[in-house]
């Protein structure tokens, strides 16, 4: 008998629209509540940070990954954690980082948040399962 009511952390390392990792992670996360589980945190790492690009504008007949992540955050109250070191060098900056680097607009917005690897360690230690969706 599988345990009930588990909390999950997911790590997404695949870039949106070029690898399947985002789709797999979203489908997995959306299937958790039916079995009494929930995703507590999603950690975006390496090229996975592009999932948080706030200006993401896919064609209307394609899945809007940013909206799917936002919906997941709303439904399951999960944190959307973005590795700051991976994000800054790829041009994903929140308001304070944008200011600090002299840019006029942020490219990353809430509910996504820039965090460090410490948050990943915290998620790995505090939640029941950590599942990596590889590039």
């Amino acid at each position: 008998m599988a345990p009930q009511g588990l909390t999950y952390a997911l790590m997404v390392q695949g870039a949106p629209y070029s690898q399947q990792a985002s789709h797999s992670a979203l489908r997995f996360a959306e299937a958790l509540p039916a079995q009494g589980h929930r995703v507590a945190a999603v950690f975006f790492y390496h090229d996975g940070v592009y999932n948080a690009a706030s200006m993401m504008s896919p064609p209307q007949d394609e899945p809007h990954l940013l909206e799917r992540w936002r919906a997941l955050h709303q439904v399951q109250q999960c944190e959307l954690l973005v590795c700051v070191a991976s994000a800054i060098r790829r041009g994903l900056l929140d308001e304070s980082e944008a200011k600090r680097h002299g840019h006029s607009h942020p490219t990353l917005e809430a509910p996504f948040e820039l965090t460090g690897l410490g948050q990943l360690m915290h998620a790995a230690l505090h939640y029941d399962r950590l599942i990596t969706f590889a590039p």
């Binding site: 008998m1 599988a2 345990p3 588990l6 999950y8 399947q20 990792a21 797999s24 489908r27 997995f28 299937a31 958790l32 039916a34 079995q35 589980h37 399962r129 950590l130 599942i131 990596t132 969706f133 590889a134 590039p135």
Partner: protein, 95 residues
């Protein structure tokens, strides 16, 4: 401690299935997802210890036109994937 091993890459582009053969132990599960399901066309060409369960994710098989060799591979849907992560102690992704 049972482990779920996730494979998301085609056996034609990676060697992890061979590396995995040395890391699995009795009671473990191997689940093929994404391009990993291409390994389900036949029996594994590597030697696995006894007592390992082999699975392929149904929807990734369907989207690629892969019909897993039923002698070796079981299929499961996303709900089965979730259940497997809950019933095993940890999940390791190989890539």
């Amino acid at each position: 401690m049972s482990t779920l091993h996730l494979i998301n890459r085609s056996p034609f582009s990676t060697n992890v299935l061979h590396e995995l053969a040395d890391a699995v132990s009795e009671g473990d599960h191997i689940l093929l997802i994404e391009d990993g399901v291409y390994a389900a066309f036949g029996a594994p060409c590597w030697t696995l210890p006894e007592g390992i369960s082999l699975w392929a994710l149904q929807e990734d098989c369907a989207s690629r036109g892969v019909t897993p060799s039923s002698v070796t591979w079981g299929t499961m849907d996303m709900a089965g994937f979730v259940a497997l992560t809950a019933s095993t102690h940890r999940t390791v992704s190989w890539f």
